[in-house]
């Protein structure tokens, strides 16, 4: 569009932003790495949290990748893809949301120099795909199955997985405590998919240690009418009647009207209404139930009626809670009080109303079918409990995943290092073009290993100088491949151990070198070594029970590769102008190009990098 002499052909509406070609890919990559940088520091047991305000002034403190991504409110179209993969990882596996974003960001970052150097992005994509397939097959090979163990053994193994997830969270200090809680609750709901059978109740106050697991159901005392306090608050082996009807004095039919011509009949109408409700109440009591729960209101009349007959009742129980009670106690929710037979009544060992923090809780424990569990979370602040809930959710998902798909791999970056090495080796074995692909992966690996860039908590100044040394081999490797194909995914994979070290406040370079040495041992015995977060050294993470379900890693690599490929394959964005210029500077400059810079540093060329 340099030639201003020619009449301009206007194809799109004015203000439409079109960018295309290589620069577009690069700018997309930049956007994605920008996003990845935000979550970078949350990885690992020593990862930090983010505090994010929204417009309404609510603050969320979180360490969960998906949550952070969601709250960032990303508008950049390419960067949104990263948000989506975080979400999909969350819904698919439930954990590893930070990992997936980091992977994708790192893949793209490694691809950037190649793009700049003129490699066609489709070639990159192909090698990414190949590398990811290799990586996944390697994970499958390295994964250890926990199938076929006894229940007890399995439990402790699952707890290890849960603990690994939890260790990066705010509640990491009590990970064993929560891990066993999570495992117990997941096991108790059995194999069906009804995740809502695990209830998480949040009660502010107390410390994390005060959280407890109920092998049954617990819910907050519902709104009660006068007379409630006179009901008994503790039962042993009570029968429970679960209802979905109102126990209240009310008009039976909404639009009916009674016409009386004889005032003396007045009383009979009144009596008739009362009899209806009394009849219902009577049937409830007749059924032998000692506890009556209803999803709808239980009025004051009913409350007092039950109080008189030593029956406990709670109205307006939420649907979820009632379903859980039904599942736990073996009862069925009734929509009528007629014909209540013994089979539909639930039971539990102990029912008790108990004080939890500032609230009173109805707790049903020791339920016969035991297919539910409730975790009552305690904590010092609302945000704290919110975050604890998210963390537990991750852990629950992990345990469920591990239960179904019982293979685990060593965590702490060990598996990533192992894949890295594998890809490296593999690359060399392939002749021709394909080798270039894999080498691409290797290159990435090398670059990824050096923490000089983007390590917010770099501790030793020494690590700065290291990358220079590395430059030579990298350059060697790169040169031949520049012509042909992509770099290495391997490097990308190294981002995980590196970030673990960075976040833990260790010298990443040092640790990574140790790790590389271990992993390079020809015997393969080093394949399980990862970062030891406690001492800053390396350790056999598998032997030390830092475990992750293999499916988490597989899904993460898959999703990240998909995302990276997707972003690389886009070479043009057509963005229609927002109706009410939502983006501050959306007004397009001349010909949709070259706008912007004014407010910042002039419209400098050559500012390709951030």
């Amino acid at each position: 569009m340099a030639n201003m002499m020619q009449p301009q052909i206007i194809l799109l509406k004015e203000g439409t932003d079109t960018s295309q070609g290589k620069p577009q890919i690069i700018s997309n990559i930049n956007a994605c790495t920008g996003i990845a940088d935000v979550v970078r520091t949350t990885l690992g047991p020593r990862g930090m949290d983010k505090l994010i305000h929204d417009e309404k002034g609510n603050a969320t403190i979180s360490n969960d990748g998906a949550t952070i991504m969601k709250l960032l409110d990303v508008v950049h179209p390419a960067a949104k893809i990263l948000v989506d993969i975080a979400k999909s990882q969350d819904s698919e596996v439930g954990d590893g949301t930070t990992t997936v974003v980091l992977f994708a960001g790192e893949f793209l970052k490694e691809a950037k120099p190649f793009i700049e150097d003129g490699v066609h992005s489709q070639s990159l994509i192909r090698s990414f795909r190949a590398a990811s397939n290799l990586a996944i097959s390697k994970i499958k090979e390295l994964a250890v199955s926990i199938e076929g163990k006894s229940m007890e053994e399995k439990k402790s193994l699952l707890a290890k997985c849960a603990a690994t997830t939890l260790s990066s969270k705010l509640i990491g200090g009590e990970k064993e405590f929560f891990a066993s809680m999570v495992v117990d609750s997941v096991i108790s709901i059995g194999n069906d998919d009804r995740l809502n059978m695990i209830g998480i109740k949040k009660v502010p106050g107390g410390t994390m240690r005060d959280s407890f697991l109920v092998d049954g159901v617990a819910f907050k005392k519902t709104f009660s009418y006068a007379g409630f306090e006179q009901q008994p608050k503790k039962f042993l082996n009570p029968k429970m009647l679960l209802l979905n009807i109102e126990l209240e004095l009310k008009s039976e039919k909404e639009n009916a009207e009674i016409r009386l011509s004889d005032p003396l009949q007045y009383q009979s109408i009144v009596d008739a209404e009362w009899n209806i409700i009394y009849d219902k109440l009577d049937k409830c009591v007749q059924s032998g139930a000692k506890i009556v729960l209803s999803r709808l209101a239980i009025g004051d009349l009913a409350t007092q009626y039950f109080a008189d007959r030593d029956v406990f009742c709670a109205g307006r129980v939420t649907e979820e809670d009632l379903q859980r009670v039904a599942a736990a106690s073996g009862g069925t929710v009734q929509t009528s009080v007629n014909n209540v037979i013994d089979e539909v009544l639930g039971t539990c060992e102990v029912f008790e109303e108990r004080q939890v923090g500032n609230e009173r809780f109805n707790i049903f424990s020791g339920c016969p079918s035991g297919r539910t569990a409730t975790i009552v979370l305690r904590g010092g602040a609302d945000q704290f409990i919110e975050e604890a809930e998210r963390s537990l959710h991750d852990a629950i998902m992990i345990v469920r995943r591990a239960l179904k798909n019982s293979t685990v791999v060593a965590g702490g970056g060990a598996i990533d290092m192992a894949i890295s090495r594998y890809l490296w080796e593999h690359a060399r074995k392939i002749a021709g073009k394909a080798q270039l692909f894999i080498n691409f992966i290797i290159l990435k690996g090398i670059r990824g290993m050096w923490p000089a860039r983007s390590s917010p908590f770099r501790q030793s100044p020494g690590s700065n100088s290291q990358p220079k040394l590395v430059c030579t081999p990298r350059a060697f490797l790169v040169l031949p491949y520049l012509i042909v194909q992509p770099k290495c995914e391997e490097g990308h994979l190294m981002v995980i151990p590196r970030q673990l070290c960075d976040n833990a406040g260790f010298d990443a370079t040092d640790v990574l070198n140790k790790l590389r040495q271990k992993h390079a041992l020809p015997s393969g015995e080093g394949a399980r070594y990862g970062v030891d977060i406690n001492t800053g050294g390396i350790i056999d993470t598998f032997a030390n029970f830092v475990w992750e379900p293999a499916v988490v890693k597989i899904n993460a690599i898959n999703a990240a590769t998909e995302a990276a490929c997707l972003i690389l394959s886009v070479d043009e964005t057509v963005k229609n102008p927002k109706s009410e210029s939502a983006q501050g500077d959306a007004a397009a400059g001349a010909m949709g190009r070259g706008r912007g810079g004014a407010g910042f540093r002039g419209r400098g060329r050559g500012m390709r990098r951030r």
Partner: protein, 535 residues
């Protein structure tokens, strides 16, 4: 947030309203948090201890609150900063769980943050600091367990409970009559407690206040006070051995809930209707009389016709009594709430030894006392005081005392107050620190220093030389290997808290330390704040 530029040097937007968002990250974020947290703690610091000062808070609509209860102060301050809000919640959750020690927990968290700042400046990774704190908090909680003592008490021997409640009350404005108030609180809690289940439902204790009189007039009533009077001025003001009908139905002809219409097309029919209505009133009163009720308490109102009839039949009545009060009356008198006149039976009546209407001073206001109840599972604490603020503050103080008594019933271990527990923990943590290799050792030591800040603040507020006093007490503790020594805030002449009878509950203290550590850990863990810039 950092802007990204594309090939042509155009910045592009990644996050919505990017320019309007501020982002603070890394060490700056932590520093900002710490200073916010410290600022909150500084406000509360002067309120700590028996010689602590009160704060006056004015709400947007002009109400004035004077208090030295940490949770209340923070609640009313309406802070905007997120970290400060965390501190507010910290204090609130201490309030929910323990009910006492809300000031101490914030001061403790502030001190921990202050110590953390120093470590951060030396380049220690914030997570390492947080982990060190966590280790230290475990050490101190265990140590508290060791120095704690079991209090033996039962329903008849409540002296230990009273002593502990007195410690709580001594820091409040009401401390001049802490003994009677403590006794009231303990008696109330013991009355409603389920000693076997170790459960106390504080809802059963009604705290009622009325301006006038003096604090010494505050009393515990084994029954209920309702801010109501008899429905008719000529009804008797005092009823002995009352049998109370507790009704949730109005003294009115019943109305069906279904839409209805009575067709009146002749004079006779109208007459019958009227007669029937009169009969209803008559029947209702008669039913109450028949079962032997001598007092009617009704949740709803009744019109003049019924009122007159009741008066006429010599049946005193109270109307418009709220649902909660009605329930408490039912519990206290052992009666049942009756929803319908047809259900009224003699067994369902509540019994009270004395029901009287009492007027106060020269005002016309009257209240109804229902006393000497059959079952004293519901009690009332009736607070008198010179002004409204005083009453409100007394209510809060009583609430604290009630919570302390409840906690003791739940767990009867105590530790000694006056900062002695903190000093003992500090010594233990300091000693344990040397056993930990690595950076955490520093954090653990910092924790010990932070623990010292509570006795330090106590001494400061009591007008003592903080450093001198603290070091003297500390050395005394170590020398005599005795954790009873604390700060002599009241200038009694001895540092031995055992002799001074200054006790605090073990769970309260443990909770303080755990909660403070937890929140500090949370604050330290944040390295990135993204917010719209108007915050």
């Amino acid at each position: 947030m950092a802007l990204a530029f594309d090939e042509y040097g155009r910045p592009f937007i990644i996050v919505r309203d990017q320019e309007q968002k501020t982002r603070l990250r890394g060490i700056d974020a932590q520093k900002a948090h710490i200073s916010a947290g410290k600022a909150v703690a500084r406000i509360l610091r002067t309120s700590l201890g028996p010689k602590g000062m009160d704060k006056m808070l004015q709400s947007p609509d002009g109400d004035v609150t004077i208090t030295n209860d940490g949770a209340t102060i923070l609640e009313q301050m309406d802070v905007d900063n997120q970290i400060a809000k965390l501190m507010v919640e910290l204090s609130r959750s201490q309030d929910y769980e323990i009910g006492d020690g809300t000031t101490g927990v914030v001061v403790m968290a502030g001190a921990l943050l202050e110590q953390a700042e120093r470590l951060l400046e030396r380049g220690v990774h914030p997570i390492r600091v947080a982990e060190g704190y966590e280790m230290a908090s475990r050490i101190s909680v265990e140590h508290l367990e060791n120095i704690a003592q079991k209090f033996v008490f039962d329903a008849t021997n409540i002296e230990p409970l009273v002593q502990t409640c007195m410690t709580t009350l001594s820091s409040k404005i009401v401390n001049r009559c802490k003994r009677p108030l403590a006794e009231i609180a303990v008696k109330a809690v013991v009355a409603v407690a389920d000693l076997e289940r170790r459960d106390v439902n504080l809802d059963l204790i009604k705290v009622e206040g009325k301006v006038g009189g003096k604090l010494e007039d505050t009393e515990l009533i084994n029954g209920i006070i309702v801010d109501k009077d008899m429905s008719h001025p000529q009804m008797p003001k005092q009823i002995r051995n009352a049998k109370i009908a507790i009704l949730t139905c109005p003294f009115e002809p019943p109305k069906p809930k279904t839409k209805h219409k009575v067709d009146i097309d002749s004079v006779e029919k109208f007459q019958t209707l009227r007669l029937q209505e009169q009969k209803y009133f008559d029947d209702m009163v008669q039913k109450c009389k028949d079962v032997g009720a001598t007092l009617v308490i009704c949740q709803w109102g009744f019109d003049d016709e019924a009122n007159h009839l009741l008066m006429h039949r010599n049946l005193p009545a109270v109307r418009w009594v709220g649902g909660v009060e009605l329930e408490l009356i039912a519990i206290a008198t052992g009666g049942r709430i009756v929803p319908r006149f047809q259900e009224l039976t003699a067994e369902k009546l509540g019994k009270a030894g004395l029901v009287r209407e009492k007027s106060f001073g020269t005002t016309k206001e009257r209240m109804l006392y229902i006393e000497e109840c059959a079952n004293s599972r519901a009690v009332t604490i009736f607070i008198r005081g010179g002004n409204k603020m005083m009453i409100e503050e007394t209510k809060r103080s009583i609430h604290d005392a009630l919570c302390v008594a409840r906690n003791l019933i739940r767990n009867n271990s105590i530790v000694y107050g006056g900062g002695s527990a903190e000093i003992a923990c500090s010594i233990a943590v300091e000693a344990a620190a040397d056993r930990y290799p690595g950076v955490e050792q520093y954090a653990i030591r910092a924790f010990a220093d932070a623990l010292d800040s509570i006795p330090m603040a106590l001494a400061e507020n009591s007008g003592l030389q903080p450093i001198e006093t603290l070091s003297a007490v500390k050395s005394q503790q170590i020398k005599e290997n005795n954790s009873y020594f604390g700060i002599d805030c009241n200038d009694v002449g001895t540092n031995d808290m055992c002799k001074q009878n200054v006790f605090e509950t073990l769970i309260g203290k443990q909770q303080q330390i755990l909660l403070a550590t937890q929140v500090v850990k949370m604050i330290l863990k944040i390295d990135d704040i993204i917010s719209p810039s108007d915050f």
